[in-house]
């Protein structure tokens, strides 16, 4: 079980930048479609608040990979 926990850590590290990339890409395409100030503000806010969450997921994955969540 501990080895699964550690291997899954790689997955969490990988998911975070992929999700953030998808969010930024969608945001840019939405702003392009409708370049109003409301759209811009909304997407900038969403991206800004999800960046710390993505960083948190990377740190979580790193801890998992290092065995910090292993059962003793």
């Amino acid at each position: 079980m501990n080895s699964i926990r550690r291997i899954a850590g790689i997955l969490w590290i990988a998911i975070a930048p992929v999700a953030l990339y998808y969010l930024i890409k969608t945001g840019m395409s939405e702003i392009e479609k409708k370049p109003t100030i409301d759209t811009k503000i909304q997407w900038i806010v969403f991206i800004i608040v999800f960046i710390p969450a993505a960083i948190g997921l990377v740190i979580f994955g790193y801890y998992a990979l290092k065995g910090e969540y292993d059962e003793n």
Binding site: M1, I4, R5, A8, W12, I15, T26, E30, T36, D38, T39, I41, Q42, V45, F46, V49, F50, A53, G56, L57, I59, F60, Y63, A64, E68, Y69, E71
Partner: protein
């Protein structure tokens, strides 16, 4: 349609369910202790319920408020502005968690959640007093935005304080049961907000059309203003309560944290628990909460096209029927552990959402019903447009179906004197018959039942992850990131997906399904059970 007798019968049923499933605490605790914990639960729950009520009335009245405070020249911009304000309300919650969490770990739980209640109550009351955009111009939306920010900040501090206050008064073996009462407050706050809005909307005039017009003009302020009475009562109750015994003990021993933020987020042992609480519990739970209630209501109104009142009363009934289960699952978690109940809630959400939402579409789809053509009603009215020779033509067509449902199609267009006509504006509202109405109540009840599984035990799970001296700070942040950001933005992301991939009306559910699944996997892999452990060993 619901009536008073049915409501009274269900209320009795509700009461019986609670008495049946929840054993009397006196069986396991001395009566003085029981009475004490009851007071603690009431003082904490009432205040938290009022805070949720205050927070939700703004969201529920977003469209009405946008007409009052944002420029009318562009209605879409006005609505988006309100939605943005709504989102800000959610996003600012984590900051409230940091500010008040730190305060709660430094000066105590009681005074901190008293302060959040005052800020929330004051802001809500003040929103009800802000003059319209027409009267004071740009200052109106600016003041509303600031007050909304204060609401979000206060909510970020309130919930953690109330939950910890109850948890630190509870015996170890009943922590899940006692704290689950706090878990009912968000749904009941939402329930009360919907109820007060519907009631106010219909009692301002004997003519319903005039009553709704009055509500949209000034009556919407009433739900905001009455909040001050509730807040006053709650402050009075809370002032009479003592500080948490565990916090008092730490304080008397001089063991409180001098820098809770630093200890919570820079010490690896604690940070890894904060991250686990977020990704293994609150992220998925927040998304499930908002999908089962907010997105369900939005889906029923905007995708199924059910009329304003029914889309809200369906939710009111569903919350009413399912709220006792928060306490059921909280209590059960004292016996079998928190982890697997929470995981079950996440997995049920993952596998059931597409089916349940497709059933909502089925119930509202007229293609599955037979139209009674001879009952069709068409009514056209012409209203002259002032200072012109043109007229506004309104055509209301009502089509009736065999199961009692009818669809009102309101078509509005301008007739010009030279016979030219503009493209009509069409609005469709479906009013369900009895069977369709109760089917929808049943489907939404299943969704909220699912919310109770994931949400009922989560507060006891969270408080058990962190030591007393930094519990307020450490627990509040993951809770409000999970619920405020991941959960609060669920209706936005779900709606966004439906506008990008227009062929599938259920595509919006991809977001909650993926998040619930990821949360379940993380919870299964990394969470260890801690229930029934004494806070002294954490």
């Amino acid at each position: 349609m619901p009536n008073e007798k049915l409501f009274a019968d269900n209320f009795l049923l509700h009461d019986r369910i609670i008495k049946f499933i929840i054993p009397k605490p006196t069986a396991v605790m001395p009566s003085s202790q029981t009475s004490g914990i009851r007071k603690v639960i009431i003082a904490s729950s009432v205040g938290t319920l009022i805070e949720w009520y205050d927070f939700f009335i703004f969201g529920s009245l977003a469209t009405v408020i946008s007409n009052q405070f944002f420029p009318k020249t562009n209605p879409t911009a006005a609505l988006l502005s309100t939605l943005a304000t709504f989102a800000v309300g959610f996003i600012v919650r984590p900051f409230g968690a940091l500010v008040f969490g730190r305060l709660g770990d430094l000066v105590g739980r009681k005074y901190t959640f008293l302060l959040t209640l005052i800020i929330m109550g004051g802001s809500t009351f003040a929103i009800g007093l802000v003059p319209k955009y027409e009267t004071i111009g740009f200052a109106a939306p600016l003041i509303v935005l600031i007050l909304r920010l204060l609401q979000g900040l206060a909510l970020g501090g309130e919930y953690g304080g109330a939950a910890i206050y109850v948890a630190e008064h509870s015996p170890d073996h009943r922590r899940g049961y006692f704290t689950s009462w706090i878990q009912t407050t968000a749904s009941i706050g939402f329930f009360v907000s919907l109820g007060v809005i519907l009631l106010t909307r219909h009692v301002l005039d004997s003519d319903q059309t005039k009553s709704i017009a009055k509500f949209n003009d000034w009556g919407w302020r009433i739900p905001f203003l009455i909040s001050i009475i509730l807040v006053g009562v709650s402050i009075y109750i809370r002032l009479k309560m003592n500080e948490s015994p565990l916090f008092m003990k730490l304080k008397s021993e001089g063991k409180t944290s001098s820098n809770p933020l630093k200890e919570s987020f820079t010490h690896k042992e604690n940070l890894k628990m904060v991250l686990l609480a977020l990704f293994g519990a609150t992220m998925a739970q927040g998304v499930i909460w908002y999908t089962g209630q907010f997105y369900a209501q939005s889906f029923i109104e905007n995708v199924c096209k059910i009329d304003f009142d029914q889309s809200r009363t369906i939710l009111i009934w569903a919350i009413f029927f399912t709220t006792p289960f928060f306490v059921v699952f909280g209590t059960w978690s004292d016996k079998v552990g928190r982890k697997w109940i929470i995981v079950a809630g996440m997995l049920l959400a993952t596998i059931s959402y597409r089916f349940l939402f497709s059933q909502l579409l089925q119930v509202s789809d007229e293609k599955n019903k037979t139209e009674i053509a001879q009952l069709q009603q068409v009514k056209t009215t012409l209203t002259p447009i002032p200072n012109s020779s043109n007229s506004l033509r309104t055509t209301v067509t009502k089509n009736f179906y065999d199961d009692g449902m009818f669809i009102s199609e309101t078509k509005k267009d301008t007739l010009y004197i030279d016979h030219a006509s503009t493209k009509p504006e069409i609005r469709i509202a479906k009013t369900l018959g009895n069977s369709g109405y109760w089917k929808m109540v049943f489907i939404v009840s299943i969704m909220i039942f699912n919310v109770t599984i994931a949400y009922g035990p989560i507060v006891s799970f969270l408080v058990e992850l962190f030591p007393t001296k930094i519990r307020y700070t450490s627990m509040s942040l993951p809770y409000h990131i999970g619920n405020g950001i991941f959960g609060g933005l669920t209706p936005f992301f779900a709606t966004l997906l439906t506008t990008i991939y227009t062929s599938d009306k259920l595509v919006g559910l991809t977001y909650p399904i993926v998040i619930s699944l990821v949360g379940a996997i993380i919870c299964i892999l990394y969470v260890n059970e801690k229930n029934k452990k004494s806070f002294d060993t954490i």
